[in-house]
């Protein structure tokens, strides 16, 4: 069960604002986290607390393939991202590194910045404790669930290869 305060962003949050390319030559998660979102919210890094929840609009994570983007968000302390929709490479990257993301246009629209939100990753149930509203995100396909259970794509593949 995740529980945190919401940082809210708009549509088409791109990977260049999630983590600008000028920091990509420092690939340690901790260094990346220091610059997460700084070009659209310079106080984000200072204010975010472990467990907080990021809410975006449509097409969250569009742009480059940099896995540094979900890595930076994860390392900043954010526990999951809820968005109306995700750009597909960001979606894959988040799954592959075992970082929880939930797709819910309703939650994306209704949840306000600063709300306290609770997320049950097993059921996909999102509860806005501030407003009292609940939202149901789609559960990931079973195959993707297996990858997340294994702790990411590489551990999943390694276990499978070792079993052969």
């Amino acid at each position: 069960m995740l529980n945190g305060t919401v940082f809210k962003f708009g549509d088409n949050v791109d990977t260049d604002v999630i983590i600008p390319a000028r920091y990509l030559n420092a690939p340690s998660p901790e260094e990346l986290a220091q610059h997460c979102m700084e070009d659209i919210d310079s106080s984000f890094v200072r204010r975010v607390q472990p467990g907080d929840i990021m809410v975006g609009g449509w097409n969250f994570g569009c742009g480059s393939s940099r896995e540094h983007a979900p890595i930076a968000i994860q390392a900043s302390g954010v526990s999951c991202v809820i968005a109306a929709s995700f750009a597909r490479i960001f979606y894959r990257n988040a799954i592959n590194i075992g970082f929880p993301i939930l797709e819910s246009p309703e939650a994306s629209e209704r949840i306000a910045a600063g709300d306290r939100v609770r997320v049950d990753l097993n059921t996909g149930l999102i509860t806005d404790e501030t407003s009292g509203e609940t939202f149901q995100a789609a559960a990931p396909p079973a195959f993707i669930g297996k990858i997340i259970e294994s702790g990411g794509l590489l551990p999943y593949l390694k276990a499978r290869q070792d079993a052969k």
Binding site: R66, N93, I97, L154
Partner: protein, 436 residues
């Protein structure tokens, strides 16, 4: 139910008779690509998971193109990690400074990818190879690592949008304008999770370089891939380059598409994307006159020989306007040499351009042309997001090479048609009159 061209390639590589949109499949990879930004992260997860061999060293390509020649110590360390990995696993297709070019111009040029291939690359513009009739898509570093370890990866079979092209390209209109127009029409998530399948009689009017440009920016509409049918031009391009057998796939007549977008090439005008989204398109005549400080001609989108020719045709006998920096970046060593042989380099230098060795550099605000606060560039690159080419308060306008070159000469966003013909017929642009 028939299959799209993309679905047929995926089905074949998954060993399945057919697939449908939405199916989750595991498919074999013909090629796995990474660069100096994404490979080191992939190496980290590959090693951490305990893998000790790659599936096939000949099917892995690493191109050091983003921050190279290395701009600082951190970048040098990234390249060292990538080189060490290539050495450790006997990956011969490591393209280092001197051999490297911008990956998505380099791979087709070197014959490393061809029709019918299934390619993943840890760079979002890997979708470029759809111009050759391949399925290619951008992925992250963990996917690259998985591909290197297993030689296969998981895919969700995409639905498709058909883009029906008719007509021929008017002067100063290129593949760039086709794809900017398309993105403007359907939006930056208009093709999210889907394929863009280009078809129709207008395909024949697009040369290979134009097709590379169009397929390259499929990702800017959110697409998983963009793909062109294989025709005589494709076969002529891969002949003498691509050593493996060519596999030609065609969409079934009854393939299902979520929608069809029709584009009459003849009706297109030079098109630009204003800050800060590629979908924020206008025709150049609507917005000409915006002052600029920089022009960048190059990138995986527009750094090929046709692009340099289009720019040089405008710059020949003219000079870059005072107060404007014009940076020209041939995408590969071969493009560089050909531009030299054709006299284009002399044109660029005489016009007052800076010509760089191949690098992605300024496109992502990495190096070789980073902007300060308040500056604006016209660039032939692919993204104009906030802070993309430097300071968070700098701006990028996306354009084709002719528009970029005309803008460099004018000192503002300019329509190349107004520079047409001899210099003396250049209207307001002659005698140093400033139209901006």
């Amino acid at each position: 139910m028939g299959m799209t061209m993309t679905q047929k390639i995926l089905a074949d590589h998954a060993g399945l008779p057919s697939v449908r949109a939405g199916d989750l499949i595991e498919a074999k990879l013909d090629l796995v690509l990474g660069n100096d930004v994404t490979t080191p992260v992939a190496v980290g997860v590959f090693d951490k998971a305990g893998f000790t061999r790659v599936f096939d060293p000949e099917k892995i390509v690493i191109v050091l193109d983003h921050y190279t020649p290395c701009k600082d110590i951190k970048s040098a360390e990234l390249c060292a990690t990538a080189r060490d990995f290539a050495k450790r696993y006997h990956i011969s297709h490591l393209y280092d400074t001197g051999a490297a070019g911008i990956e998505h111009a380099l791979l087709p040029e070197q014959g490393l990818v061809g029709p019918g291939d299934l390619v993943i690359g840890a760079d979002s513009h890997t979708c470029t190879y759809g111009a050759l009739g391949a399925f290619s898509t951008g992925v992250g570093s963990t996917d690259m690592a998985a591909g290197m370890a297993a030689g296969e990866n998981w895919f969700k079979v995409p639905a498709a949008i058909r883009v029906e092209l008719t007509g021929t390209l008017p002067p100063y209109v290129s593949g760039k304008d086709v794809v900017l127009h398309l993105i403007g029409q359907i939006g930056v998530d208009g093709a999210l999770y889907q394929s863009l399948e280009f078809t129709g009689p207008g395909v024949a009017a697009l040369g290979m370089d134009d097709r590379f440009t169009v397929a390259n920016m499929a990702i800017e509409a959110g697409a998983k891939n963009g793909i062109f049918p294989v025709d005589e031009q494709t076969l002529a391009y891969v002949k003498d380059r691509f050593p493996r057998p060519v596999k030609v796939y065609e969409a079934d007549a009854d393939a299902e598409y979520t929608r069809t977008v029709e584009i009459d090439l003849s009706a297109l005008r030079p098109t630009v994307s204003l800050p800060h989204l590629p979908s924020n398109t206008k025709t150049v005549d609507q917005v000409k006159g915006l002052p600029i400080q920089q022009v960048v001609i190059g990138s995986c989108t527009n750094g090929r020989i046709s692009d340099l020719r289009a720019a040089a045709a405008i710059l020949k006998g003219r000079h870059v306007a005072p107060g404007v920096r014009c940076i020209v970046i041939p995408a590969t060593q071969a493009v560089w040499l050909q531009a030299l042989e054709e006299g284009l380099m002399q044109t660029f230098i005489e016009a007052g351009c800076a010509v760089s060795t191949p690098t992605c550099g300024p496109c992502l605000g990495g190096h070789m042309g980073v902007m300060s606060a308040g500056e604006r560039a016209v660039a032939t690159t692919n993204r104009n997001f906030v802070g993309r080419m430097g300071h968070v308060r700098s701006e990028v306008i996306l354009a084709n090479p002719a528009v970029a070159a005309a803008s460099a000469v004018a000192g503002c966003l300019a329509d190349p048609a107004e520079l047409d013909g001899a210099v003396e017929d250049a209207g307001p642009y002659k005698e140093g009159l400033n139209p901006c």
